[in-house]
């Protein structure tokens, strides 16, 4: 068997896609035009270069191919029709004159119709490669879709199929003997090499005359690679192992890290001093929690922003939300002790004589806040509301309060948990806000939520 590994291919791709050399070799050999399996599974966790490598290899091999990303397909039918369209397009590009032949663009509602249509559409000579990217995450996929796609190559001779999936489950394809290529997570050296390919510059937009001793490019690059190594050791290897999150952590920390250089306190090569000065950056985990707001746009800290924004809730809405939280997190049997003005001590039941036979069942206590919100009926909500509202407040049941309840529901601060069957105040609700928010809100309107909350 003539594998005929083009060594130049590996050499060419090695620099573009670092750290994936064995995978490139495997792919090339398996995808060689002469022979090779009809179906191939490429798997690996997120951001390990599966799609990039596959695409690059296919491009290099100069076989006609089409890539279909399941992420873009809403239904199975959508996936199939997009596949046909993509095959069409690849075929037309291949032989421009035959465009009319493949223009017949048909509907394709099931997998059987798909196979027929595919047979018609595919160019009769030469090997064609179909890549299903992320097929395991296809929306609305029937359980037979994947096995059927895995067998496409058996039915159509000159077709080979590559399935790119995250985790290869053992019985995913219902067919043994399919070669799998694993893309393992990058090691430290590989990750650093990749991140160093696109270094951030020291001072992005400032012209060189602004800073007198403008650092040279190689200095900046040197600093970037050292910095990335430090980030990997401190945060990356534990919490941001994949390339995308590692890169985002690096780019987030880069600006505060290099600030002393721009100020002129340190030179570019004084990495050790910079590390000591900025050690707090690598100790805190703030960079790991994702936030869509870039820090420079919102100078205030996030916690105060929540409270401040929620302060805009009108007076009684705030009380309603607090009441909803209490109803969700307090057990109903304790309502009497918390919310009645003259709470009578309930008569304690006499405990049964404890004999060695009657083992006491241990009370397993879990903090109710950890259990998640419980559903409660509207009647209870209104009762708690009128109990905690300051004297002379409004009564529930009026249009104002009911309107507030509807608004809170629409804002997603409380969610509906079920409808009462025509009972008065029977529909169920559930609070959908966290403790911090409720406490802040309660304080803003003068209500200490802790006083009413069961431990």
């Amino acid at each position: 068997m003539d594998l005929n590994l083009p060594e130049e291919l590996v050499l060419a791709l090695k620099d573009i896609i670092p750290g994936r050399e064995p995978q490139i070799r495997q792919l090339t050999s398996l995808l060689s035009p002469v022979s090779g399996p009809s179906t191939l599974v490429v798997h690996g966790t997120e951001a390990t270069g599966k799609s990039t490598t596959t695409k690059a290899v296919l491009k290099f091999l100069e076989n006609p191919f089409a890539i279909i990303r399941s992420q873009e397909c809403v239904t199975t039918r959508h996936l199939l029709e997009r596949t046909i369209a993509a095959v069409n397009k690849a075929g037309i590009d291949e032989k421009a004159g035959d465009g009319a032949l493949y223009a017949a663009n048909g509907r394709c509602e099931s997998i059987s119709a798909f196979i027929v249509l595919l047979q018609k559409t595919l160019p009769s000579v030469g090997k064609f490669t179909l890549v299903f990217d992320g097929i395991d995450r296809q929306r609305d996929a029937s359980p037979t879709l994947l096995p059927a796609i895995a067998r496409l190559g058996e039915l159509i001779t000159n077709l080979s199929v590559i399935l790119i999936v995250t985790v290869p489950q053992p019985r995913l394809l219902h067919r043994p003997g399919i070669p799998h290529i694993r893309f393992p997570p990058y090691t430290k050296a590989e990750a650093l090499q990749i991140v160093s390919l696109s270094p951030l510059v020291l001072c992005p937009s400032s012209p060189s005359d602004l800073i007198p001793n403008m650092p040279k490019d190689e200095d900046s690059q040197w600093l970037w690679s050292r910095f990335c190594g430090a980030v990997w050791d401190s945060l990356g290897q534990g919490a941001a192992r994949d390339i995308t999150s590692f890169r985002s952590v690096c780019s987030q920390l880069w600006k505060p890290f290099t600030e002393p250089i721009l100020k002129g306190d340190y030179g570019v090569r004084e990495f050790a001093k910079l590390m000591v000065r900025n050690r707090a950056l690598f100790q805190s985990e703030a960079a790991l929690t994702k936030s869509i707001i870039t820090p420079n746009t919102s100078p205030t800290s996030s916690k105060s922003a929540v409270v401040k924004a929620l302060l805009a809730l009108p007076f009684y809405s705030a009380y309603l939300l607090v009441a909803a939280y209490l109803a969700s997190y307090n057990p109903p049997r304790l309502d009497q002790t918390f919310f009645t003005k003259t709470s009578e001590r309930r008569k304690r039941r006499r405990a049964p004589p404890s004999t060695p036979n009657h083992r006491k069942i241990k009370n397993r206590k879990i903090n109710r806040r950890l259990l998640g919100p419980q559903a409660f009926v509207l009647e209870r909500w209104l009762a708690i509301f009128s109990a905690i509202v300051p004297d002379g407040g409004v009564k529930g049941g009026g249009a104002d309060v009911m309107g507030q309840i509807a608004t809170l529901g629409r804002l997603g601060l409380v969610t509906r948990a079920g409808t009462g069957d025509g009972e008065m105040g029977g529909e169920k609700w559930r609070a959908n806000v966290g403790w911090e928010v409720v406490r802040g809100l309660g304080r803003a309107v003068g209500c200490e939520v802790e006083n009413y909350l069961a431990e």
């Binding site: 995308t244 922003a305 104002d400 507030q404 804002l411 601060l413 008065m424």
Partner: protein, 703 residues
Amino acid sequence: MTEYESCFIYKPGNIEAHLSDERPQKRRKQPPNSNDASSQCDKATFLPLLAGRERTESAQRRYDLFEAAWNPLDRSLNDVLTGHYTTIVHDVASFVKNAEANPNTQELPSGLIVGAPNVTNQSSLTDAITRQIRTSRDTVVVSLLSTQLPNLKTALKYINQQATSQFDGNANTNWAGRGQYLNYDLQMLHDCIQSQGVRKVVLYLRDTEGFDESLLSDLIDTFSSWMDRIPVVLLFGIATSTDLFQERLPQATLGLLQATHFEINQLDVNILFKTIMTPVRPSGLWLGPNLSRSILQRHKEFVQTTNDFARSMKYLYMTHFFSNPLSILTTNRDDVGNLESILQHEHFEAIRTLPSFRRYAKKLMDDGDIDSVRRLLDDDRTLLDAVRTNLKISETSLREVTAGIEVLTTVQPILSLKKNATWSELYILAMSGELDGSSLVREVLLSIKKMSSDSMHGLITQLSHHLPAINKISEDLSKLMAATADDPAPLRSEHDVHHNTLRTTVVAQKVELSKQTAALSKQDMEYSKIVNRVDTVLREYFQQSFINPQDLFLHEIMIYDAKSPYRDAFTPRPRFAVERALSSPHDYLGCTCCNNARNGLSPTQPTAAILYQLYLESGSQINVSDLWSAFSTIVAAEDPEDEEAEQQRNLFVPRGDIKDGASTNVTPSALFSQALAELKYMGMIKASRKKADHLAKLAWKGL
């Protein structure tokens, strides 16, 4: 179909007609035709008042007056709103213009528009933003509402439709009609924007909270995978806060967004209120203190949007013109001249019953002018003349009240007072006649007396716009200041604390404190004179303007202060009404038989009401047998006036229940079952699962 027929034959009336058209026409959703509604509104008019004797022309005139009073206000309210939102609209538009996707990071540029926690208020804002963005040619805006989009498929379909339909007009390209792609395939959008040269597609999610979390993340996911082909900018309208929004989305989705934050400041309701109360063109109507207070209070305590506020104001204006026949005297239109032709005798009778007319007449009597009172009572023409002159006077003085408030609000920020009262607070005080001589005005006057010359100068320039009388003083002050220009220290008046020193003297081993006023320099004396003049002018001015509006003759025509129509229309309390009807039915029935048992049970009451009162006394689990015995003792009570109760009860029992020939005496057990069924129907009880033969109580009174 009756019970003896086993089947029935359907005979369509016109078979030919049915056969002729092969397919029944599909019903299409049509947008509500706005023209129809408005044309109906044009014809609308008010009902004739004065016990139906009012002429239709008068009713029509009241309607016209209402329109003339409200429409300019509506416009100015809109102007205020648009002016308020201008900056944010421009910010968002420029953000959209400059937004560029970062090819390295797969992050979609997105703007978070965080507003006050109400949903509908944003509609005017969102429209403005959409309009502003649409002005640039190469941008497509699709605005999404959560109610329209239950799932991803529908959402994408909707986006495709909306985006491509904007180009349907030119170059006969009907993208949706081509059938080349599935209608939720974004390839369609891609082709469309490529051929039309669109550089940005803006998706505006108006109410982000309403969207399902999974739909949101699916949508973001899909568009981020299309990012290299479709340049999408997302705009999120957020009513709560950015952090709550972030908490709802999964981390993976958050990584796909790169957001910029826009904060909308809620428009202060005081500004809106002031806009309405001080219109450019006088509307001839003022709101009374009680009503204003309750409206503003309600606005503060509950979510009430600016639109709601405008709506309730409109309702109040309409109620005034709808329900007050004398509102035709309102002078917001120029054609006051032909009043004689419109007014009829009933109008004059109505004027004579007004409390303010009585007060007016009494005052004339006290002055000894009995003849004119007689003439006012007898002669309609004399009354009309009096009304005319007095209306003008009253209106002018009301306008002076608002002008006086304006002066107060201009003066307040210049002085360093502990707390500046808002315009509406001052208005409420002024309209209830409490502003003149109030501690607030006194404090203002006192601190003016203590002002130094340089701040006084600023004050006088501010005031000169409102008070012409102060111009003379202003000249004098300028002269005085020019004379002392070489002295850097400002002049101080005699009332200033700077001139008082505390002196301690020790006399016979006792410390004595004594206040001593330092001798004033000549300039200071001069200045003190000026200060005193300013004080007098202002004091007189305030005294003149802040009259008690309730003392004005015909104030009923110009001041609307009825709270109950507003309360009934905007804050109904259905639950309270049901509970009250059941617990004390006499309040609604008004019958004589239940009168003596106002607070208790009586057999004459409707059975559901009796049962409800028993129900209120019980706990959360109700024993049916106990309930029945209590019920039967009340209903079957042997009373001398039992007959009456009997009749009453029969009223509430359907006739069908009483069999022919049987006595009309319905058994208590039937009544009990009926009452129980009624309570169940109202959703107050259900069968308990905890105990046999028990009912669970579901509703508590007074919640």
